[in-house]
Point group: C2
DNA sequence: CCACAGCCTGACCAACTGGTCAAGATTTTT
DNA sequence: AAAAATCTTGACCAGTTGGTCAGGCTGTGG
């Protein structure tokens, strides 16, 4: 009767369960923080008994670590648009669009990351010191090249990056505040478009960006 | 022998103890989040027995509520510079300076606020709907006037405000990440000055602000 | 000097937490 | 078909948490 799920090898089922748990965990951690989240609640959201959850992820900290790592990798990947760009208008414009889209579709991840960093990054400090540092240095070099080529004003690339991160992630981390100030309703398609346009307009004009 | 503290009426002592506890609580809440913070740890930081803490603040939630309220009021007060300004360069410039200074001197408060909003503002939702909404509408009117007067480009005032909040508070909420990317050291005086200048430069130029 | 109201605190408790485990169910391999 | 490996779960435990409370302490007004 029930053969809707065909190719179910033990490995497949395991992967599905782990993904289910990770999704539930991301949601619960983003809503309650690490300290406020409970394994019982994560299990309930995932629709599994708590003991089963511990079978796949022995400790709460280990589960949390995997959630944060996944978020960080997704976020890094989305930043590739930066590389294949000829100038700031194209590159930064696409970067802003990409990060705003993530903030709209997956605000939970951004919140977990923000929470982790705010609490002194007890779990992903090594990522900050290695991967993130390297990534940042690379993009700073790109921006400096654009400045040398006269494609934008001389601006401290580091603070420009912080501004991009802060602004785009704000729409995820503070979505509740933004919704409240929007009369309690989520931003509409048109409002999201206006937000993207506003951010791009102010920043690109702010750095005096010109077409490549 | 010990008469350094002279006028110690019971009311004065009470006020001092409450302030001491509130400061300790703000620190602990900012470091561990509401769920991760414990009354025992707050008591230790304040140097008081836990039972004494419960004498002044019967419940953890009540203590947390007062911490968040105090932060919100301080933050609102610091925004007065907005009002007495003739144009965007003066007004927004002073606002950015003020908020950057708060981020530098009191990052804990900003973190507690961010945490509260990220978790759907369970405690200060009414403030968002009343005080913050009114404040925001008022500043939007000011910005719209500046636009009408031709002192700046037509920009969506709401998204401009979000950008200001996001960027300035980022230096508090993500100070750990910023420090790590700064080689593990806090920003120096000169670096803070550069940060302020960069933010003001990009935003003020981004909105095409001209002197009043 | 006393009495009284407010302040302080060690000891205690019920509720909840992350984590364990043994016994069974299920699937894969032989 | 039977043994081996993997998965599932209810019951359980030790540690921690927010919160209580009785009894002692302290300063103040009479």
């Amino acid at each position: 009767m029930n053969d809707e799920t065909r190719t179910n090898s033990r490995k497949d089922r395991r992967r599905e369960s782990e993904k289910l748990i990770l999704q539930a965990a991301e949601k619960v951690f983003s809503e309650a923080g690490f300290g406020g989240a409970t394994m019982q609640l994560i299990a309930d959201v995932a629709g599994l008994p708590k003991a089963n959850l511990h079978y796949y992820f022995p400790t709460k900290e280990g589960l949390y670590r995997q959630v944060v790592q996944k978020i960080f990798l997704d976020w890094l990947k989305a930043a590739d648009v930066f590389d294949n760009a000829d100038g700031p208008i194209e590159g930064l414009g696409a970067y802003i669009d990409a990060k705003m889209e993530i903030s709209r579709r997956h605000p939970e991840g951004s919140k977990v990351w923000a929470s982790e960093v705010m609490h002194q990054a007890p779990v992903i400090q090594d990522y900050l010191e290695t991967t993130l540092t390297e990534w940042t240095d690379g993009r700073i070099a790109v921006i400096e090249r654009w400045i040398e080529q006269g494609l934008m004003d001389p601006v401290d690339p580091r603070h420009l990056l912080y501004m991009l991160w802060a602004t785009t992630q704000h729409y995820a981390d503070f979505n509740h505040q933004i919704e409240t100030l929007n009369g309690g309703a989520p931003l509409s398609d048109a409002q999201w478009e206006a937000a993207k346009q506003s951010v791009k307009q102010i920043i690109l004009r702010g750095i005096g960006a010109t077409p490549a």
